[in-house]
Symmetry: D2
């Protein structure tokens, strides 16, 4: 079974194997492919949090989440056959946007970190507000991750 | 300017640079990425032949082309920085399908060959017939490529 | 934990989630990305069978497996959020090649099938024989899958 | 012929077609694929500037360029069949690193911007200084782009 990971104290973690497709001729994971790992992590985070992207995209008021900004550090390489873990937590929420802090680790070493700003886009075009249920869910997750 | 290639005697040719994204840890182009080169070749073939995929996909009778079958030989590797050429020609046409013969070459050497069966799919679901204008265009191109 | 799947009666099965990265504008999995699913399936098949590709690639006699031929049927589409299962079994073995029959299914429906010919390539260039231990392992798996 | 673009006043520009492979189910270019466009732009920038990445990677002192940091804005979407232009210019140079400012545009509209920090990595492992000839070349390009 494919595994969508778990949320503990507001932090979602899920692991992926590095396959041939992820590597490049330098023998390591091609830098753009970390963005795929981050995106898988966010998709699984939403799923485990009970937010159904497929359902949200349907119908008259259908919406997608679109990445608006990414600040990414590439610190150490992952290699073929490694198992990497993606960690995600909600950092900030506004009317139409959410900022998610993410990290890719391997055996406890941090390989890459990212701060990702995601916005809601109406399927019929243009930005739209986050649905109230989604905002609330994000808010609870944020509080769980940063209880201070 | 991006270059969509040319059709001569029914055969379309277009060239692409091999970038980092295309390679894998074996130092050569990852096998699945040849399918991207073939698909770019088919897209440019249609474009140069005057068939507008974007326009065809719009509206009530919108349709997409979907690959149904591929028989692919991987003969020699392409490497970073190589310029590869994709050749495409119409091999067979039926009501809802077209078979395209394709080839990737580099400096005259054949790297990969493919016979690709493409079917028309209605955007609202299910197979559909090729539009008459598209069939006719394919037919003219097929005759030009195999004048016998 | 990432899951490499299991081998039963010579047939390996492993499951993957379909993410955004896998889809295209037709709303379904981009055809070339099935080859990534097939390749992940083969990598996990080898791993679970005790064949370590990373170790095999090291040193003086290092070798890679390279795809030589694929015959692929694309029957039905997979969509975002689907969980697809890749099935793999050894079909034929020769001195330097192995043919693997593969299938991608979703909820019991067959989405795509492939017959994949893989050859051993020396890291220093050129084809090479399959190591004896690998051949033997493939042979046992083949017998388990086709006991007749 | 594949076209590597041109450098004018220190700014490199090269154009790429958007193909099916680049899109996702939202009907637009998948965000991680902009990083591929940026990387193609940097590769072509180096090539046109006379810096041969393939040659640099060979031999005892072989080196690769690795992305260390990216700050990326995704402003507007690119769509299937669009032609996008990647602009690149040298922003800063230090002993082992170079910062490149990049932009993807389509018909004059800015779709995405990135500040990319690239470091030299020895093929045998670990960071290494930029070769003197490369530093000098980058320096000339930087001066041409920011003559102030």
């Amino acid at each position: 079974m494919s595994d969508s990971g778990t949320i503990e104290a507001g932090v979602h973690r899920v692991s992926f194997r590095v396959y041939y497709e992820d590597t490049d001729l330098a023998g390591i994971v091609y830098h753009a492919n970390y963005l795929k790992f981050f995106e898988r992590g966010r998709s699984d985070f939403l799923r485990v949090a009970g937010i159904d992207q497929r359902a949200l995209s349907q119908g008259e008021d259908g919406l997608f989440f679109a990445v608006r900004h990414m600040d990414v550090d590439f610190k150490k390489p992952a290699r073929f056959d490694d198992i990497v873990t993606v960690e995600s937590r909600i950092k900030a929420i506004s009317g139409a946007r959410v900022v998610i802090d993410q990290k890719v680790t391997c055996d406890g070493r941090v390989l890459s970190t990212a701060a990702v700003t995601v916005a809601a886009l109406a399927a019929k075009g243009g930005p739209t507000r986050l649905p109230e249920a989604v905002r609330t869910r994000f808010s609870v997750l944020q509080d769980a991750a940063d209880p201070a």
